[in-house]
Symmetry: C2
Subunit: 188 residues, 2 copies
Amino acid sequence: MRRIAPGRDELIAAIAEVFRAHGYAGASLSLITETTGLGKGSLYNFFPGGKDEMAAAVLAHIDRWFEDAVFSPLREVESPQEGIARMLAATDAYFHSGRRVCLVGAFALDDARDRFAAEIRSYFGRWVADLAGALRRAGLEAADAGRLAEESVAGIQGALTLARAFDDPAVFSRAMANIRERLDVGRA
Amino acid sequence: MRRIAPGRDELIAAIAEVFRAHGYAGASLSLITETTGLGKGSLYNFFPGGKDEMAAAVLAHIDRWFEDAVFSPLREVESPQEGIARMLAATDAYFHSGRRVCLVGAFALDDARDRFAAEIRSYFGRWVADLAGALRRAGLEAADAGRLAEESVAGIQGALTLARAFDDPAVFSRAMANIRERLDVGRA
DNA sequence: GTGTATTTGTACCAATCGGTACAATGGAGT
DNA sequence: ACTCCATTGTACCGATTGGTACAAATACAC
């Protein structure tokens, strides 16, 4: 039969949730088959490389989403302030206002880091660089822009960790409000 | 034979490094026996509860260390500024200036969170509460103190994540310098 | 309706998982 | 010197791991 499984995007999204909830090592194939409803046959048909390829596909999927919704507005919207506002809104939406955790950040901490070092570095690297770029366009000096950008991305990651530790999304919302304020440079 | 293995503290420290590097699920018993040099016999002699008890012991060990070196100075040193300075110094030392990752933060993200929810919550909760207390003693309003404390702890966690993602401890050092500045309230 | 290439379920694989059992070991207390 | 008993290594357990093989099923092109 052809084309019975959900679209590839939905499939990857479902797999992503398993990795998000259990980490790379903890995301067993049985958990994945259970969550997706697909047997190993289908899974290995779509991802011949196995678990590794699934995780890579998930990371690529996330990367694409962030590129479109979070990073590119920072570069391409004329008003840097507007670009930053869009980035913050998309970030808040993506993490379900703190109820969801950052897969890339989680991978950065466990032993998936070595396997996907390049992807992880690129994800955070572009986030920081594009935000710094917007801040520079808003009038900040390069050094200040870089520092503030790094600090903001770190603040978001840390807030996700704390929100999950406390099981309280409000921690994330407070952090986002705070970051929004500190990024509100050069006129409103 | 009696007392051949290293002291319990050193043993726990060695196990901690395995959990730190591989997460809960990724820290296999074979990895632990390999790292510690102890066979399963010894391991299960010291930790009859198995992996779960090892992780609990590691968390308790970390908790004790932070209580002594990081949290208690915030409460007990007369000068809150001095307490904060000690907390920052101890934190920087513990994380090897960004070369080491926070086990509790890592556990908060993967599926160990549910198992150790109480310990994780308590660890971060006391950190934030004690820092907020010191800031209040330094003259800040309760609301401001709470916000700044939460923000600082989140900043530290996020910086650890970024430092690991970039494989660049300098990210952590920059974040610490920044946090030190922002916590320098009420006189110097 | 037939052919075909893709999709799928099932059975199977060796390796490893966390954990248990237990006999051998040998240091400490006397 | 002798007796304990904490400590240790080894063998073993069933379950699960990630992964493979392959035949049955089936949607689509024709």
